[in-house]
Amino acid sequence: MASVTHILGIESSCDDTAAAVLRIHDGRASVLSSVVEGQSGLHAAFGGVVPEIAARAHAEKIDLCVEEALAQADLPLSQIDAIAVTAGPGLIGGVLSGVMCAKGLAAATGKPLIGVNHLAGHALTPRLTDGLAYPYLMLLVSGGHCQLLIVQSHDRFTRLGGTIDDAPGEAFDKTARLLGLPQPGGPSVEAEAKAGDPKRFTFPRPLMDRPGCDMSFSGLKTAVLRARDQIVAEKAGLTTQDRADLCAGFQAAVTDVLRGKTARALEQYLAVNPEAPAIAVAGGVAANRSIRAGLETIASDYGVAFTAPPLRLCTDNAAMIAYAGWERWQAAQVDDMTLAARPRWPLDNRAPALVGSGKKGAKS
């Protein structure tokens, strides 16, 4: 392998169409370009990502994103050494568009095709941004996912626990919808919560009374709905203060659950005696300041380094796919033209399936 390598990454597993070019020089990775075309405007009216709408947008945008990523990196396609693409888990229509575009590019250029697990992309991002050494603890919290993992190598993960129903990002979106706040719900609920009293409403901390690291967020959303309906029944509407208090109470509950379960995961992680103990977060929910602050506190309580990649690499992007693809390529793990797109693809095959994980869209 030459000392300078360029990897093209492609990502289309949810509602962002993304392409990126990664340059690896003497083993050090840098992001030359990372193009992310969001679709939130297309889904806004529906209060959530509509799979068919997402699939339609990906199919007509993916090659344009690749062109843009190459242009921003100022590289012709001929300078790309390998093509990495998200092959799952995710909304299958979108994943298929990415995989087929990548196959077309790989067939045309004769470059290796590398199918990447989207969750591995997130989980390996702290290596791209901070050069974290294995093993580290990863909390992946996004609109579609929520898991606590020990990352042992680029393809060895131990899942300590995860959500058995909704992902936290989903809960934020649903809460926003219940309260008439704009989508995506994460930023709008967080902004609203600033003016709220987190103690006025006591929302449940689901599964905190059970051992282990599994979490549940769907009951929390129902609790918000009940509290809202009770206020509406009393005064035929919500005041902005009511709304702020509901948001603050909801956010406090999510923060508590993530903090509490992360503390348990840290104990299990520290039991394997890592040389340089570190915890990293990834996923869009990691952008929430209250959640992030809660996790930082826990990390420092346990004397473990805390890392959160910059937001643009925390949310869905293709640079992480290119990076994870490079790690796979280093291990000679390449795919052929029969590479399949997979709606589900757990990182840890040995861990029991999360209860209820078969019922919804982009779960693992």
């Binding site: 009216a45 529906f46 209060g47 509509v50 068919e52 709408i53 699939a55 339609r56 990906h58 199919a59 007509e60 993916i62 090659d63 690749v66 062109e67 396609l77 299958i92 229509g93 298929l96 568009s97 990415g98 995989v99 087929m100 575009c101 990548a102 196959k103 077309g104 590019l105 790989a106 067939a107 045309a108 250029t109 919808r177 219940l178 309260l179 008439g180 809202r228 509406v232 005064k235 035929a236 509407g237 919500l238 005041t239 902005t240 203060q241 709304r243 033209m337 029969t338 590479l339 399949a340 797109a341």
Partner: protein
């Protein structure tokens, strides 16, 4: 003298995976496999087999032709995305060919192109008819009887059924879909084309949330 242009056409818009390679005016290799699922895993190897049967390399291609539907949404996107990736990678044009044009290719006279669609409906478009119809998706039993005109034939996967409904003749398609796609793409690729895009004829199934947001009292 330039050599004959070489065009690779393919289609996965229905329960098949199909490819045809056109060199000049002759089809030099073709594949058509009936397939309910698995087109995404099969398509590229099928294309490679088609090329190698004719001793043609990817780099020899002058253009790509791809079926854009209407048909199975996922199937159409599989081929359209692959075509866009190939076109970008090879630096050659990809030409989208809809399946109305494909079925009408070589049609004898006025024709109503009819492709099977879900739940007793068909995708319809006129070709050389007095009346300008579609493209549209409609229930076969609601197709107006006065669409029948002298010499009309119905062509396509739903052709027999629509022909029976209208009391006109049914004519089988002249070419397999991938062959027609390749032949039509060969007539268009030298003129700048929009990038291939699926032809859906139906909006995505999605409904806005039913629950109205709560009234915010301070705003009133």
């Amino acid at each position: 003298m330039p050599s004959d242009p070489i065009v690779l056409g393919f289609d996965t818009s229905a329960a098949h995976c199909a490819a045809a390679l056109l060199s000049g005016t002759g089809i030099v290799a073709a594949r058509h496999e009936e397939m309910g699922r698995g087109q995404a895993e099969r398509l590229m190897t099928l294309l490679e087999e088609t090329l190698s049967e004719a001793g043609v390399a990817w780099s020899n291609l002058d253009a790509i032709g791809v079926g854009t539907g209407p048909g199975n949404f996922t199937g159409i996107r599989i081929s359209v995305s692959a075509a866009r990736g190939l076109a970008l990678g090879l630096g050659i044009p990809a030409v989208g060919v809809d399946l109305f044009d494909a079925a009408a290719w070589g049609a004898p006279g006025p024709a109503l192109i009819c492709h099977t669609a879900p739940r007793g409906t068909a995708y319809l478009r006129s070709c050389g008819m007095v009346r300008d119809i579609g493209p549209v998706q409609m229930a076969i039993d609601t197709i107006p009887a006065d669409w029948a005109e002298a010499g009309l034939s119905c062509i396509g996967s739903a052709g027999a059924e629509v022909a029976a409904h209208l009391g006109v003749s049914h004519v089988p398609v002249a070419h397999a879909p991938a062959v027609a796609v390749a032949r039509i793409a060969a007539t268009r690729w030298q003129v700048p084309q929009p990038r291939p895009a699926p032809l859906y004829l139906r909006p995505a199934d999605a409904a806005p949330p039913r629950d109205a947001p709560p009234v915010i009292l301070d705003d009133a």
